[in-house]
Symmetry: C2
Subunit: 377 residues, 2 copies
Amino acid sequence: MQKEANSVGLTATKTFTIPDKIHLESGIEFGPVQVAYETYGTLNENADNAILLLHALTGDAHAAGYHDEKDKKPGWWDDMVGPGKAFDTDKYFVISSNMLGGCSGTTGPCSINPDTGKPYGLSFPVITIEDAVKVQKRLVEFLGVKRLIVAGGSMGGMQALEWSISNADMVSAVIIIASTSRLSAQGIAFNAVGRNAILSDPNFNDGNYYDKEKQPEKGLAIARMVGHITYLCEESMHKKFGRRFQYSDRPNFDFNIDFQVESYLEHQGRTFVDRFDANSYLYITKAVDYFDLAQKHGSLKSAFEKTKARFLVISFTSDWLFPTSQSKEIVQALIKAGRDVSFCEIESPCGHDAFLLEFETQTKIVKSFLEKGEENV
Amino acid sequence: MQKEANSVGLTATKTFTIPDKIHLESGIEFGPVQVAYETYGTLNENADNAILLLHALTGDAHAAGYHDEKDKKPGWWDDMVGPGKAFDTDKYFVISSNMLGGCSGTTGPCSINPDTGKPYGLSFPVITIEDAVKVQKRLVEFLGVKRLIVAGGSMGGMQALEWSISNADMVSAVIIIASTSRLSAQGIAFNAVGRNAILSDPNFNDGNYYDKEKQPEKGLAIARMVGHITYLCEESMHKKFGRRFQYSDRPNFDFNIDFQVESYLEHQGRTFVDRFDANSYLYITKAVDYFDLAQKHGSLKSAFEKTKARFLVISFTSDWLFPTSQSKEIVQALIKAGRDVSFCEIESPCGHDAFLLEFETQTKIVKSFLEKGEENV
């Protein structure tokens, strides 16, 4: 833990259990659902200064601060959350929760099914972004929040969009970063390859591996490697690794790791399996695949006509997973729907990962957007 | 077999065995090497009307015509090879051979090692593009060719470039389509994921699977799926599949195939394992990874100063695996080296695969380039 003046400091993940069942988009009534969450800052008397942060594919509730003084790394969006930061905890009550289907405290396929006493595995219901938002809604109600701002990058942006539509009366402002209103065919294809790698791993065992000696680590690692290629871009890979060899200045002439980029991917795959569940990867990528606001609401314009919030849309020049063109689709539909929208494309060589890295420019834009809302109060 | 006036008709793959050993770039002396090849058209008296076609990653010697009257599909570049076609068999003696390390008749890891009586498997030496070209050189010498044109798309373009440098006195013209002078970090990353999927398949068994009941089909299928994402592009995937479901108009809410794009990838993976060898996939992708003319010759300009041929470089607007920028690097270095080079970027929505699909425009450009050479004779 680095001592920083503007850190939220030590934090802890808490849990809340929704007392009744959730009606899922698939038609299933599902429960009980436990939600893992963290909060930073204080809810004001009007209960209208909340910001709900929504994590990306493999994120968790731990968005800011440190769980332990010995922690080397803070939460996943620590650069953006704290006193004086973009999401200013001196002003706002910031909430972050683990997504339904996840594996970091919120009910997911690795949770114990109370009916059987065993982990759900593949008996966990297939969920959607809408379902995840329903669960988050119950959490913010439990926390006493009446009105809120929603913000997220990548899959988190999908959830922010869903929030603005399905809970229009609660949402005052929406911040969507490096996201999209529907996953592209290419995006589905990358997710399909990752799922295929997991499902093909003989240790996957139809999702029943939790009590087994061997886990589907190889399949999950391959899924993560594919993912990381899409989070970077050719430019960032060229800068980071180029064609440099990992161990010497010449080829190995074997099938061990030759190039730095191979070593990077191998490392990403290997470390991911320690913190993420293969079943959760299946469920969450599937929820992302299904997300398509235009298909669901007839058109993107119709979808956004249901909203009542101000919007900020941010994209990055080198993001080819959720490229600027997809952000512009959102912006154009919001304008057609007569909504208040600000848009910024940030020049960045960091690819899709930029939403986790380019915090200086993001901070300026987000602060300015939020201050505009504060003036209007 | 469709009866077409401009087809080369029935063809057969022949073999030639190099009598002595090949000195590989890794330092190993390797042999015997058998080469599978086909020829179309007739070598002229001066033995200088040959065109050597060089196949891409998973191609073979069967570039044109049909092996059997019942064949539904012709060779892989049939649209480009035949009487009156781009590679006009009325004028030229066209040669196509399977690459060293392949699995379609040329010696590769699935071939029997005469010293052991068993397939080489991973005891096969790691090979490079230079090694593949050395083998091709022995073939064209055996066929009596004195002077030739070399042409190839994708990895075939890498071999064409290598030919122009290492056999400068033999090569009069070079046609490089959708190729590059060095694989990018992102390209290495995609290949690394594919190899990882194969190496992680428990049926891979350290490459010794040829006599086993189970083959590393799942790993090889995943490698092929990743490959196909890079051969298409977001635009072509959007046109071909969009977000359409395969079997109904709504999500399955399970982990079977939902979207058409998933079905396509699954089909590509499943059919690939019937025609390709997992070990060959490892060896050939590794050869591609190692290809880097600038690194080998000090600079791309130095590399091309060794050439004596005319060059035609073709790229496609939507190819993001070997994008136009990489073709332009080749063109600029050729110009710096004082070489005669023509360059054309073809507008196409087909991605990298365009070199196998956009034959009408390619034909015009290639014909015009070859005719210029014919005038000069």
